[in-house]
Amino acid sequence: MPPTRTRDDDLDATARDAATGDRLATEALFRALSDDVWRYCQALLGDSELAFDASQETFVRLIGAIRRWRGDAPVRVFVLVLARRACAEVLRKERRHRDRTADRVEADRAVPADAGAVEVRRLVADLPLDLRQAFVLTQLVGLTYEEAAVVAEVAVGTIRSRVFRARERLVAALDPAGEGRSARR
């Protein structure tokens, strides 16, 4: 469910307490942002084990970085920027590791009960990275286009366009019979 602005206000108040060294507030911030960070890292990396490492790294970095948050953007955006950097770092390490050891062990993946959710996840995972990032940030994490643009470091118009392109592909994949209704006529 996309988060509300009220939730963001509450989170920002918690983040201000966390920035003063309040341990309980920091833990509350961890709890509130775990889902969003996990989804975003999953979307960027497409691998559960790497996403787990990147998400962990995000929260470890947050302990020191929260003092730098000035409230210019919601703390959720600030943390997702940290998550994007953590993903880049994890990916760099993974590439170096893969160069050294050719055979990497795949992470186990359980099968969830909801088949429809599985289908959407699979289709989202197949999107190109740019479209996947825009779709996940706005649809699964619930950021506004402006906030997603800050996280992805692109223009708001680019996010709008990428979300549309992602949806265009997903709609076509979910409804192959509707392909004749293509917009490019």
Binding site: S34, D47, Q139, L140, Y145, V171, G178, A183
Partner: protein, 209 residues
Amino acid sequence: MSEHETVRVWLSARVDGEVADDSLARAHLAACEACRAWATSLELLTAAAQVAAASDVVPDVAATARRQLDTARPSVRERSGRLVLVLAGLSGLALAAASVTALPTDVAAAHVGLDLIGFKVAIAVGYLVAAVDPRRYGRGLVAVAATAALVLLLPSASTVAGGAADPLAEAAHLPVLGGLLGLALLVDELRDGPRRRPATPARTGTVGA
């Protein structure tokens, strides 16, 4: 960009509440069956994405960070609270020791005085123990310290009001009050209770995006 595509870009942003209503786009939708069907598919997709997000199995991704917090330096407020408890405990013990030397020679009066000193020593030791681990030992001390402060201060207030106050005797109550202040500074830690070691997170059993 075709008119269909322009309208669908608008529809996509409209679903997210990112654009205002557009009469031209509405007019196109009213006339274009294909775009209306696309709009319906878009709504279904949005609902499916929300179900997917809600049914996500999220592992404990903050466990490592929480462990780091456990070993991190305590906050300024927590350090202040613990320092106040230490000062209150030590000054309470020092004043209790001084009081022993000033006990009256009358046996009955000395006995009452010793009872009071024992009570203050117990409170002072409680403050020192709470300063070591406020989460574990502080909570139980709050009611004792608050009651002691009340019991000691009420007679003191009447003595001071009556103009018969002995400054040394009244100052001997300050450590009890100081400790209560220290506990008040540690209210978050007391509410938190003893720390539990977080469980090791599961690294598997999750779903790929």
